[in-house]
Structure formats: C-alpha cells, structure tokens
C-alpha cells in the first residue's frame, strides 16, 4: 500500500481486501495508554476493526475520544501498548505517516473550501494532470461516479461545496478519503452537527464505506446513531474502557444505558419523577 495515496489511473471499482481471509484484524489497538505528564488521558484501551466492518467508539464529553482519534491518526503517540496494522506494530510520527499507511481521518471541520466546486474540493491537493494541465473532465466524472458508488448522487458536480448541506459535505469528505486509497476511515463525530434526517444520510454513507471493504472507526456520543451501523462497540468513560462488545453481545438499550452512565441515569430519572 505504499502507493495508496496516489489516485488510481483508471476508475476501477475498488476491490475489497477480501481475497485472502484476514488472519489479523485490519487495525488493532492492544492495551493502549496515553499520559500527558501526570494526567491520564487513556488507560488500557483495546479494540479492533476488520475490513468491511464498523467499530463505534462511544463516549461522552471528556471521555478521551479526541486523544483516541489523535493517536489513531498519528497526531499523538501512545505512551504504552501496541498499535497494529495487519498484525504488525506500527509507529506513526506524523499524520502524514498515518495517511500513507491508508488511515484517513475525516475531522469535524472537514477540510473543504466552501466557494470551490465539489470536484475541485474532491481532488484538492491530489489533482489529476495531463502534462501541466488539469484533467478537468476526468476529475468531474470521477468525483461524480465515486460519490455515486457511495450512494450519493450529486446534482451538480460544479456546485460550490458551500451550498451543500452538512451531511452532503460529510459525504464528500468520506468519498474523497475512500477514493484516495484509505483502508481505515476514522470519522470524528460526523453526525454531531446534523439534524435527524441528515444524520441518517451520513450513517448510510458510513455503512456504504464499510461495504466497500474499508474498516471504519466511527466516533460518536450518540448510541442511537452508533447501534444501527456498528459491528463492534467500544465505550469510553473518563479515559477507561467500559468494554468492547460485538454487536451480538449487546443490545441497543444496554448500550444506551452504559453510555449514559448506567446507574447514574436511572437515579436521575427517579429523581425527576419524584420532583414532578
């Protein structure tokens, strides 16, 4: 995957990495801890994501989600523990290293230029060229068909990204990451700022990305968004893991309860019903 960052010269359908049955998880974190001086940000976190699967990382504010993302995307390095890709430990010293290894992070602020057209944003920084000139039509068509593969049908590929809704912009960022050779897609709260319908749209794209053979790590604080798309659920609370479950091991209600602080929420509910 050393050439994974360069766009394929022909628009071929991406073959999922499923020719040989995976012996190892695509990406695995084993007993990861992160300390900032005497502050413990993460303690003993383990989870994994397989190709074609979605691992959801749930946590409330301050649970350590940001640190988790930053370790995955190469911004920070773990203090202890192993970060494995295809079973081999890796060490990223910069986000660029992570990108080269096929780990693409779609941050909340999305890295888009609002007045530029969809296709220019899609290829920003990795333009397709013939000699000194842009292959404008190739890029238009590719952007459109790549987005279509994700199930996103863009009306007008020349429209400025700024005119799109938040969900559509998320989807452009996801499709871009997928096209430029990402194997693992890390999504940082993609539904946080969206309405109900738009969230649904984005969740559809998350699933579509996984169905195309990517491993997706979906970070959110909303169990109702996580449960329908996730295959694995890892819950974070105050830097500790509350557990790492396969979908079969946990129901939506349990997930919600764990997520909301379990007993605390019940106590709160009780208190509220009392005061009413």
């Amino acid at each position: 995957m050393s050439d994974s960052i360069t766009p394929p010269s022909t628009i071929d359908v991406k073959t999922p990495h499923s020719e040989s049955p995976p012996k190892f998880a695509l990406l695995e974190l084993s007993h990861i801890s992160k300390y900032f001086g005497n502050v413990t940000a993460l303690e003993d976190i383990s989870t994994h994501v397989d190709a074609g699967a979605v691992t959801c990382v749930l946590g409330d504010n301050g649970a350590g989600k940001s640190t988790f993302i930053k370790i995955l995307s190469g911004v920070h390095q773990q203090s202890t523990g192993d970060y494995l890709i295809d079973g081999t430990p890796v060490h990223f010293s910069s986000p660029r290293d992570a990108r080269l290894a096929g780990i693409a992070t779609v941050f909340q602020d999305l890295a888009m230029s609002p007045l530029l057209s969809v296709w220019r944003n899609f290829f920003m920084g990795s333009e397709a060229m013939v000699g000194p000139f842009l292959k404008a039509n190739f890029m238009r068509n590719t952007a459109k068909s790549e987005m279509k593969k994700m199930g996103i049908d863009v009306r007008d590929i020349d429209q400025p990204v700024g005119t799109m809704s938040g969900g559509e912009r998320q989807s452009v960022a996801i499709a871009r990451a997928v096209y430029f050779g990402a194997r693992v897609l890390i999504l940082d709260e993609p539904t946080a700022a969206l309405g109900v319908r738009q969230s649904g749209v984005v969740l559809k794209y998350v699933r579509a990305a996984a169905d195309r053979g990517l491993g997706v790590i979906f970070i959110t604080h909303n169990p109702h968004h996580a449960y329908p798309v996730g295959d694995r659920f890892m819950l974070l609370n105050r830097g500790h893991s509350l557990g790492d479950f396969a979908k079969s091991e946990i129901t939506r209600d349990e997930l919600t309860r764990l997520m909301a602080g379990g007993a605390e929420l019940e106590a709160l509910q009780h208190e509220l019903s009392q005061s009413r």
Binding site: S113, P114, L116, G125, L134, A136, K149, R207, A208
Partner: protein, 680 residues
C-alpha cells in the same frame, strides 16, 4: 445498502454531463452568474456613457488610447487578482512598479554609464524584485500577520528607498534619460514600440462579413441551447427561412448600393424583415413548436402593458413638447415661490420614504433610541433630497430636462413592456407574441424619434442602427418564444455544441472588430499584446493547472488546504513573487516608454490595481474571482481616464468616478455571487 453500491458498481463510469434533477440553465442565465459579468456590463456601460458624451471616444483612435492606458494596469491587475483569489493583498505592488523602473534607471545612468547594456540592469532588477516578493510572502507566512500590514511596511520602505537612492546616486528625484544605454532600443522594440498597420481598404468589408457570420453563429448557438431539437425536421418551414435569407441578402446589397433616405428605409426594412423571417423559419424547421393557442389575455398583464404604453407615450410627448434648444437654467425659470414648493415637496418625499422604513421598524419594537435615531434619519433624508433636487435644478437646463424626461420615461416604459411580455407569455403564447411585437414597434418609434430630434450625428446614425437591429431581434425573439417550446432540461450534446457555437461566434465577432481596429491606421503599443498574452496565461494557470486549484484552495480555506496536503506556504510565496515580477515587468516597460522616471513613480498605483481586480469580480476575501474580469476592470479604469478628458469634464473628477465604480462593482458582484449560489 449493498444494493445501491452494486447497482452503481455494475455500470461502467461513463461521462456524466448532466443530471435530470438539475434544472436547465439557459445560456443567458449562465452568463449572468459568471464572475466576469459585472466587469463586462460595466465595460459596456462605461463605453456607452463616454461614447454618447465625447466626440473622440468610440473612434478607433480613442479605443487604441484606452488599450494603451489599460495594458500596464491590466498586467498588474492579473497578478493582483491571482493574489486576491489566494486570499492575500499586496499594497507594495504600486511602489514595486516604481522601484523596478527606478532601479533600472539608476543602474543605467550612474553605474553602468553610457554604452553599457540595459539588459544587465533589467536582469538585476528582476532578481531584486523577485527577492522583495519572496520577502513579502515569507514574512506573511512566518509572522502570520495580515498581508495588509506586511506589504504596507514594504510599500513605505520602497517609497523611502527610491528617494534615498535617487538623491544619493544622481542628486535629484528625476532619473534619466536612459535611452542612451545599450540595448534600450531593442528592449523598447519588444515592449513599447507603437505598432501601426497601413489602413487597409477592404477592412470594412471583411469586418461586416465577419460580424454577420459571427452573429449568425452566435444566434445558432443560443437557439441550440434554448430550444428542443425536432426528431424529424419540418420541411414546410424551410421556404420561409429561404425567402427570409433571400430578402435579407437583397435588402443588404441594395442598402449598400443605393442612396437617399427613402431607399435606405425601404431596403433596411426588407433586410430586417428578411432576417426575422430567416431566424423564425429556421427555428420552426429545426425545433419543436407549440400548438397554436387562442389569444387569452389577463387583466393584470394588460394593466402592466397599459402603464408601459402610457409611460412611453409620455416620454415621446415630452420630447416634442419641451424645446430642445432652450438652454435656460430651470431654477431661474421657476419663480422663487415655486422653488420653495419644489424643495419642500422633494423633502417631503424623502421624509415619506425614510418614514416608511421607520414605521416598519417601530411596529416591530418600540424603543426610544430607535425612535430618535429614526427621526434623525427621516430629517436627514428629507434634507438630502431637497438639497439634491435644488442642486439638480440649479444645474439643469430645459434642454437637459427634455433629454432626461424623454430617455428615462421611454426606457421605463420599454422595461415595463418587456416585463409585460414575459408575463403575457405565461398567459398564452399568442398574447406573448402580440405584446412582444408591440415592444418591438415601440423600440422602432423610439429610434425614429431620436433620429428626428437629436442634433448629435452619432445618435442619428449609430444609435439609430443599433436600436433598429435591437427591434428586429426583439421581434424575432417574440416569434421564437411564442412559436417554439423552450427547453427546461439539459441536453448534453446540444448544450456542448450550442456553447461552442456561442463562444465561437463571440470570439469571431471580437476578432472581426479587432481586425478592423488594427487596420484603421491607428497605432497601439506592443505592450497591449503582452497584456493579452499575460491575461490568457493567467486565466489558464488559474483554471486549468494544479497551481490554480491550489490558489483557489488557499484563498477559500487555508487550513483545509493545508490539512489536505496543499503546500500553502509555497503557494503564497509564489503568488507574492508573481505580483512582484509583474511589478518588475510593468516598471520596466513604463521606463522604456517614459525614458525618464520620477522617484515617486508608481506610489499609490496599488489602489488602481486593486480597484481593477475588484471591479473584475475578484472577492476581497479570496477563493473566488476571474482573471479576465481583472483585465476588463483595468480596461474600464483606462476608459474612464481617457473618457473623462474627452468628454471635457473636470479631469480631477475621474477619481470620484473610480471610487463610485469600485462601490458599484462590489455591490453588483456580491449580488451576482449570491445569485450564483442560489441558482445551483
């Protein structure tokens, strides 16, 4: 979910040129949302303004002078536009042009002495300018300060350095002459030599043929983009087109070969009617037509139509009733009692206008502060209105009043009629046709009245022809829109060909015009060619290369661009160096033209460049803009600077003009950008 993916995987990615949900945007609408449109309309309006008030303006000589003046501004505006789209500013660009000229002049006069080669000086100044550009860019990157501050600093340093070095080395602020230096001639030949072609007799014929072909191709392109192609051509309409073509040809040939007003009118009519028949017949043959409808009217449209007619007739009446020779100033003509009444009336109208908004805000929320502020606003508006009206009366003569009333009432009437026409088309196509033809007749009447009552020659000839042609196309358009079905969905192949034909036609028209200018015996400086080349290169770089995409990206969202792997810092330094090198180029050619430069050369010019770029539709905050627009902006400024003296106005007034232009352009551009985003 997987169903969706499979379905789209299965089909091979084929060129996707359109989408059925995407409303078809007609050619006119597409033109209206391009960033250059503000500059293009501005250029045409400014040209028309000066054409109607100045005798020299609008001739080949006048246009040549405008181009000469525009070239240096335009070259800088192109570079500044790139920088502005990249989200930065360069206030040192004006001083940079001066610095380049001063450097070359100082080196040739004091160090290299006579006989030494000027190329050496020019090369040295190239390196120095690139260095200053690099410094600007690097400082902006390293310090994170706004480029406004950094380049303002550079501006003052350069301004001072020019003076210091000029006084130190040659003891005065006037440096030169430099034309004794070796290589000066050859350099001047490349950049500033006046090129002049012998007047060529056949130029008018070639121009006319070129223009006719251009208009035909252009109209074909527009038709192709607007209407639905028939599956089987309807040959019954072909004779109409053929007869029209024949009539047009005969009329045109006879028009050229006969003399006398009667003959001219006769053959012009034959020619224009022929053209209309040709277009309409062609369209009926090639495109899908509407079934015949009966004439259905609506009272609302009839009302609009009535208002239009009344306004138009009032305008015509005003043209005949009010004397066109009377130069009496209106204020002296009015008795003093009436003046007071007029002033008070104007004040009351102003107060009423401001009062309306006041009432609206107060209704929403009554606050003392808002009430006080609103009252002050009402008073101020009233005062401004009455003073303005009095000042206008003070200046205006009876003659001007007549012209003003005539033109404004007629144009208002025509606009009303046009809006009535589009409303009528929605009611029934026959009604639309009737109103359209009425509008066309009104334009003809207007043209004839202008001809009968105007004493300016160019109004009697040029404007008359233009108006008659306009009337013919209005009539043709009325027929087309009521006979043919307008396309509402995109049709990729028709759109592609239509667009190519439109662009080709426009290009052909412009080249025919340029050809005629070129062989009219009027010279122009070689730098005009350089300007055009640089504009083309700038446009290609911006829209067709990777660097251009990066410039857009950096201007649109710097952090996003960096996150995605665009070398933001290098792009910025590159843009500043480009501006500095453009400054080097313009400074050098200015020196070649002037031979002697002032140490203050170029100071303050940066605002002219920035105005040109902004007028051209470039967004001050970056991420959006146009190179061709910037060049057009430069042309507008040059036309203003040439046109104001030719119109015998106060030449100091051109700054007022430029300032007003800047404001108007920004407003128009904001409006367009909003429309552009809505339209999508």
């Amino acid at each position: 979910m997987s169903v969706v993916v499979e379905a789209s995987d299965a089909e091979a990615p084929k060129p996707i040129a359109s989408d059925e949900r995407l409303g078809h945007r007609g050619p006119i609408r597409r033109l209206l949302i391009s960033p250059e449109i503000g500059a293009l309309t501005g250029a045409i309006l400014v040209w028309l303004l000066f054409w109607s008030v100045g005798d020299q303006f609008g001739t080949a000589a006048g246009f040549g002078n405008s181009l000469d003046a525009a070239a240096p501004i335009g070259i800088m505006a192109v570079a500044i536009a790139l920088l502005m789209i990249g989200g930065e500013f360069d206030l040192s660009s004006g001083a940079m042009t001066g610095a380049s000229a001063v450097m070359v002049a100082l080196m040739t006069t004091s160090w290299l002495k006579d006989g030494s080669n000027i190329w050496l000086a020019v090369t040295a100044s190239f390196i120095a300018c690139a260095g200053i550009g690099w410094w600007n860019g690097t400082m902006v990157n390293k310090t994170g300060l706004p480029s406004f501050i950094v380049t303002l600093g550079t501006f003052f340093v350069l301004k001072g350095a020019k003076l210091v070095f000029a006084k130190r080395l040659v003891g005065k602020v006037l440096i030169g002459p430099t034309d004794k230096a070796g290589g000066f001639k050859s350099l001047a030949n490349i950049f500033v030599k006046i090129r002049k072609y012998q007047p060529f007799d056949g130029r008018d014929k070639i121009f006319v043929i070129g223009a006719i072909v251009a208009v035909a191709v252009l109209i074909f392109g527009l038709l192709e983009q607007s209407f639905i192609r028939r599956r089987t051509a309807r040959s019954a309409s072909l004779p109409i087109a053929a007869a029209g073509a024949a009539a047009a040809a005969v009329g045109f040939i006879m028009l050229l070969n006969t003399n006398g007003v009667g003959n001219n009118i006769l053959w012009a009519t034959v020619c224009l009617v022929g053209v209309i028949a040709l277009i309409v017949g062609f369209a009926r043959w090639r495109y899908v037509t509407v079934e015949r409808t009966t004439l259905v009217t609506s009272p609302e449209v009839l009302k609009r139509l009535g208002i239009g007619c009344v306004l138009f007739v009032l305008g015509i009446v005003a043209a005949y009733v009010i004397s066109r020779h009377d130069k009496t100033v209106i204020l002296t003509f009015l008795p003093s009692g009436l003046r007071v009444v007029v002033a008070i009336a104007a004040g009351l109208i102003g107060a009423a206008l401001a009062g309306r908004t006041l009432v609206r805000t107060l209704k929403a929320k009554f606050v003392i502060l808002a009430a006080v502020r609103g009252s002050i606003m009402v008073l101020a508006t009233a005062l401004v209105m009455s003073v303005t009206v009095l000042a206008a009366l003070e200046l205006a003569t009876i003659r001007a009043l007549r012209a003003g009333l005539f033109v404004s009432l007629c144009i208002l009437g025509l606009l009303r009629l046009l809006s009535a026409r589009s409303a009528a088309l929605k009611v029934s196509s026959a009604f639309g046709l009737a109103v359209g033809l009425l509008t066309s007749v009104a334009v003809i009447v207007f043209a004839l009245v202008v001809r009968a009552t105007s004493h300016v020659h160019r109004f009697r000839s040029g404007l008359l022809c233009a108006l008659l042609l306009g009337a013919a196309f209005l009539a043709a358009n009325a027929f087309l829109e009521s006979y043919n079905l307008k396309r509402t969905v995109a049709d990729p192949s028709a759109d592609t060909w239509g667009r190519r034909a439109t662009i080709g036609g426009a290009a052909l028209g412009v080249s025919a015009m340029l050809f005629r200018l070129l062989y009219s015996g009027q010279g122009f400086r070689t730098w005009v060619i350089w300007w055009i080349i640089i504009t083309i290169i700038g446009g290609i770089v911006l829209n067709r290369t990777k660097v251009g995409n990066w410039i857009y990206a950096v201007g649109g969202n710097k952090d996003a661009a960096r996150a995605i792997g665009v070398p933001v810092d290098r792009v910025k330094v590159g843009m500043f160096v480009t501006v500095a090198l453009a400054g080097w180029f313009v400074g050098t050619i200015t020196l070649l033209q002037l031979k002697t430069v002032q140490a203050s050369q170029g100071d303050g010019q940066e605002f002219v460049f920035i105005i040109a770029a902004v007028v051209g539709g470039n967004l001050l905050t970056g991420g959006y803009g146009s190179i061709i627009g910037a060049s057009l902006g430069a042309l507008i400024l040059a036309m203003v600077s040439q046109g104001v003296p030719l119109a015998l106005w106060n030449t100091d007034g051109q700054f007022i003009f430029q300032g007003a232009l800047l404001l108007a352009a920004v407003l128009v551009n904001n409006f367009i950008r909003r429309k552009a985003q809505e339209a999508r």
